[in-house]
Amino acid sequence: MNWVWNNLDLIGELTLEHIRLSIPPILLGFLISIPLGFLAYRFKLTRGLLLTVAGLLYTIPSLALFVILPPIIGVSYLSEVNITIALTIYAVAIMARSVADALGSVDPAVRQSATAVGFSSWRRFWQVEFPLAGPVILAGLRVASVSTVSLVTVGIFIGIESLGYLFTNGLQRRIFAEVLTGVVMTVIVALLIDAILVLIGRLLMPWTNPGTRRSANRTATQLPLAQGGGAR
């Protein structure tokens, strides 16, 4: 444990760096997945194609992607753009599918009712289908964010510093505490980002909050029973 106390600065620095590297791929992945997921949801042809490509992309080992990508897009191996693009690809691979599934999960009766009262298809998408798909999209976003946080560590093999540094450095120097700190901090970063996402979800989708769900019905129908409904 001594190692930890002696290296708090390093740990703090690497943690911030790790968070900084994790956020762009999560955000970009989310933004890019919306139109792709919509295409996959809306058209049968694109659905098969997109989901297959997404599935294939996800199977490329991350290290391989870090190495292949720079010559293709013309940046240096050490460039952050490299890792950002690679991790965005993984995030899209996960989220495009969940956006498509999420849009498919919207109750057709609600969609029809929105059409019936006069939503144009554009407004219906943004004001009805997309928000109602929100909980399922959020679930996909959470998976993608955890995956991104863990993949950022791999960047260390091409020289991009993150909490992954503690793995490689700890292994080389055989400091077990250092490796363990790397693992624990990565998990904490993942949990932190996850908690923030859940919180944002709560704020943006108040109708899904546990407190609002059916509470009124329950008080209306169950109270008399709970208070000795037999007497009535």
Binding site: D107, A109, V110, Q112, S113, A114, T115, A116, V117, G118, F119, S120, R123, V128, P131, L132, M205, P206, W207, T212, R213, R214, S215, A216, N217, A220, T221
Partner: protein, 275 residues
């Protein structure tokens, strides 16, 4: 006035849901379409707001062929109430009711203000305004659905089995409300149900449909009850026929009503039900 001229609808999969349907639905009256499941009621209803486009014939509103009208604009001036309310689960009650005015550009504040007034109209407590639909009972959701249908002050109100999913007591209550609203608001209402009692209760004009949207009989409740046009119609209203064909048998203690099988159905009192 809504007019169907030889309207047919064949779905892409080949189903002929409506076959040569012609009917006039008079203004400011309630027309009830009644028939068993799959008889084409919903399809006919949805051809009025262009949710479904006919494959043959024409639908006219006030003598204007609606196939030339822009569907989204058309829908915003026709109220639509569906089973289970069809409410938007992520909109609060007040915003559900204000949906159409907001779509047509009324400022949100004004639309909400008007929505609260409409809650009074349909008998909803204003304290429910900030709830989400999932926090309401089925009957309350249905009232919200009706309020939303009325929000743009449409001349036409389409109702597709609006009370199909609520229990009999609430249903009876909602039916009475509908009658009251119709008296006060004077809309052209097209109401779909498969409950013949509901049809007779609410309809000025009742249309009994067979499969394919074929009209078995159309008329006022009295006309249909007094003179069923066919075996099918007699059958359709038949489950209750014993109950409906009542006769008076005078006894020493007064007059009792008996059904066609001679069972007592009630007593005859002067004055009828008090309103």
């Amino acid at each position: 006035m809504i007019e169907f001229r030889s309207v047919s609808k064949q779905f892409p999969d080949g189903t002929l849901a409506v076959d040569d349907f012609s009917l006039v639905m008079p203004s400011r009256k309630t027309t009830v379409l009644v028939g068993s499941s799959g008889s084409g009621k919903t399809t006919i209803l949805r051809m009025i707001n262009r949710m479904v486009d006919p494959t043959g014939g024409a639908v006219l509103i006030d003598d204007e062929d609606i196939s030339g009208l822009e569907p989204v604009a058309l829908r915003r001036r026709i109220g639509y109430v569906m089973q289970n309310g069809g409410l938007l689960p992520h909109f609060k009650v007040v915003d559900n009711i204000a949906t159409v005015p907001v779509l047509t550009g009324v400022p949100r504040g004004a639309a909400r203000e008007q929505a609260l007034t409409l809650m009074d109209t349909v008998g909803l407590d204003r304290s429910l305004a900030d709830r989400y639909p999932s926090q309401l009972s089925g009957g309350q959701q249905q009232r919200v659905g009706v309020a939303r249908g009325l929000a743009a002050n449409p001349n036409i109100l389409l109702m597709d089995e609006p009370f199909g999913a609520v229990d009999p007591i609430v249903r009876a209550e909602l039916q009475q409300e509908t009658i009251r609203l119709q008296r006060e608001l004077d809309k052209t209402v097209v109401f779909v149900t498969h409950d013949i009692d509901e049809a007779f209760l609410l309809g000025d004009q009742v249309v009994i449909l067979e499969k394919g949207g074929r009209i078995a009989q159309v008329g006022s409740p009295t006309e249909i009850l007094a003179d069923p046009a066919s075996e099918f119609v007699a059958d359709f209203i038949g489950a209750d026929r014993g109950k409906r064909a009542l006769s008076i048998r005078r006894t020493e203690r007064g007059a009792i009503l008996v059904d066609s099988e001679g069972r007592a159905a009630g007593v005859l009192v002067d004055g009828g039900p008090t309103a």
